[in-house]
Amino acid sequence: MSAPVVYIDDEAALCRVFEMVLGARGIPIVTFTDAGAAVAYLNTHDAVVVFCDLRMPTMSGLEVLARLSRPVPFYLISGDLAASGATPVSGLTGTLAKPFPAERLIEIVERLTKAEGA
């Protein structure tokens, strides 16, 4: 079983729809609405890529990144205007601004899955 995509967002509806979208393509995905639980998971499990919301109530996406003990492709998703010009951060692979087309996420996942498979 290959490593899953990890999607972290306090917005449960988004977690659920990406589970459906990726699930339909046979891509394993694990989602978290709680950032703390996600950090704990990522520090003990492999992931092919992490998509993480920037603005979350208990912990920001940047904090999640800072707490990771193992390197992993990490995309920050921002839902507001303020973060659209976020400064480069070490360990950050890229950013996605909400709303983004689902294809964008799939494209990234497929690219990284292929790279891993190769």
């Binding site: 917005e11 509806a13 339909a24 603005r55 839902g79 709303p99 087309p101």
Partner: protein, 496 residues
């Protein structure tokens, strides 16, 4: 006429003496050389002389050496048979005092057609003249006050028929004074919409004998309305009652009030837009999330269709519609919130709905900072006012609550609405923050006072909020429930 009653000569002389003595006028009889043949005491008094003096046989011109030339002419004309009189003749006494005489100079003669001298009647009317002049002066003073008063003045009958108006009043109405007085009635120029208030003022007039201050409008000659403030009282004139009214033109005052109201609405709007600016990030988040959800579900829907998984299609459609509703709610709330509150008449406001809408608008920020919101609302509470403005007050208080608690460990806000049937509707916003330090508690309602960082607050929120609440006849106060902050809005309730 001779007989038991005595000789006519004796009787007529006696009668003459009695008459002279009791005559309330000074009287003197002269011969052709203006020598005194007779005079009475009143004559001496009228001329300011000792009343015991006897002038008989003396020349009038010797007694009064300073007599004016024109007097000599009057005497000459009298001797020529002409009777002359004057009602107010000014003269200076030998002491230099100004006095006034009323006099008659008439010829007399022993035989018809013959002039043997003149009779002068004189009365000192200095006192009367002085009084008359004082009265005239007062009259002119009062007339000036009446004519030149910038306040409209009007005298009318109890039925409202105008008898006398000053310039200010007729100008105010666009009529000439001639048109107004005697031709117009109060009722002709009073719009019907004031019927009820008029009744109240009429009752005051009946019971208190005065009315006002009463603000209404008059219809001007050109048909436009002019706002006025009236005060009036009943006066008696020759036993009949009349009404004196003082009429102030409120046009300038109303224009000033309108300007101030305009400024006030602009300030509210500016503060509101600043609030929206502060909330923009949260609002964008709240709209972008549903958009992301819609896109992903639309994508998944295409997937499902391609795979023939019809069962899943409905689920995606439902999710899309739910997301649209969610985004629509915030857009609706925002549109309502930012709409300019015009000078509209107050309406009945459902406080529960107001709280719901305000919380919906602030939800993105509550969620972002993981602030828990509890709401205890008595559903029936109603107040009278402008829901947009009151909504702004609530959004302000809720935003402040978020700012107060977001750095803390305990993060909650509590909105409660209580409806006291005997009094007010109370909306309280409490939060888990540390409260306002006592040393600045009195400053927080001042304009431009803020403890927030630059760019995070305008310092207008509480000051504008308080002014809005006070304009609604209510209060906005800080009533901490130690250790928490609690801001309380009290408004008069409406309904049963």
């Amino acid at each position: 006429m001779e007989g038991a009653r005595g000789t006519p000569e004796v009787r007529s002389e006696q009668l003459f003496v009695e008459m002279m003595k009791t005559l309330p006028l000074g009287a003197a009889v002269f011969d052709r050389d203006l020598r005194y043949l007779a005079h009475n005491r009143a004559w001496l008094l009228a001329h300011g002389r000792d009343d015991a003096e006897d002038l008989v046989g003396k020349s009038h011109y010797e007694v009064f050496p300073g007599i004016r030339e024109e007097w000599r002419r009057v005497h000459e004309r009298g001797l020529a048979g002409v009777t002359e009189r004057s009602d107010f003749d000014r003269f200076e006494t030998s002491q230099g005092k100004v006095e006034y005489l009323r006099w008659v100079v008439a010829p007399w003669g022993g035989k018809p057609g013959q002039v043997d001298g003149i009779i002068i009647y004189a009365e000192n009317v200095t006192e009367q003249e002085r009084t008359r002049r004082q009265l005239a002066e007062r009259e002119s003073l009062i007339r000036d006050l009446f004519d030149k008063s910038p306040v409209g003045l009007n005298l009318c009958t109890m039925d409202g028929l105008w008898l006398e108006s000053n310039q200010a009043f007729s100008d105010l109405l666009g009529y000439t004074q001639a048109e107004a007085d005697g031709g117009l009635t109060y009722w002709q120029l009073t719009p019907r919409k004031y019927d009820v208030q008029e009744q109240v003022q009429l009752e005051r007039l009946q019971t208190l004998r005065r009315y006002g201050p009463y603000e209404k409008e008059f219809v001007r000659k050109d048909g436009t309305l002019v706002p006025v403030r009236l005060n009036g009282f009943v006066v008696e004139r020759e036993g009949r009652p009349y009404i004196w009214s003082l009429i102030e033109d409120l046009t300038a005052q109303r224009a000033l009030e309108a300007d101030l109201e305009d400024e006030r609405l602009k300030a509210i709007q500016a503060s509101k837009l600043a609030t929206v600016g502060e909330m923009a990030a949260g609002i964008a988040h709240e709209i972008n999330n549903p958009l992301g959800i819609i896109d992903a579900h639309a994508f998944a829907l295409e997937d499902a269709r391609a795979r023939g998984e019809d069962a899943k299609i409905d689920e995606h459609i439902r999710a899309i519609r739910a997301a649209v509703t969610r985004a629509g709610k915030i857009v609706h709330g925002l549109r309502k919130f930012t709409r300019e509150s015009m000078n509209e008449p107050p309406e009945e406001v459902d406080v529960a709905a107001l709280v719901d809408e305000s919380i919906a608008l602030c939800t993105p920020r509550f969620r972002e900072h993981a602030v828990e919101v509890r709401v205890d609302v008595e559903r029936e509470a109603r107040v009278r006012g402008h829901s947009i403005e009151l909504g702004q007050v609530l959004v302000n208080l809720l935003n402040n609550a978020v700012d107060a608690v977001r750095e803390g460990d305990e993060k909650w806000g509590h909105v409660s609405v209580t409806d006291d049937p005997g009094g007010a509707v109370t909306i309280a916003v409490e939060d888990s923050g540390p409260g306002i330090p006592p040393e600045i508690a009195s400053d927080v309602f001042r304009a431009f006072f803020t403890t927030k960082k630059v760019g995070e607050g305008t310092g207008l929120g509480l000051s504008i909020s308080r002014s809005i609440v006070e304009r609604h006849g209510g209060t906005l106060t800080y009533e901490p429930t130690a250790p928490h902050a609690r801001l309380v809005v009290r408004l008069a309730r409406v309904g049963p």
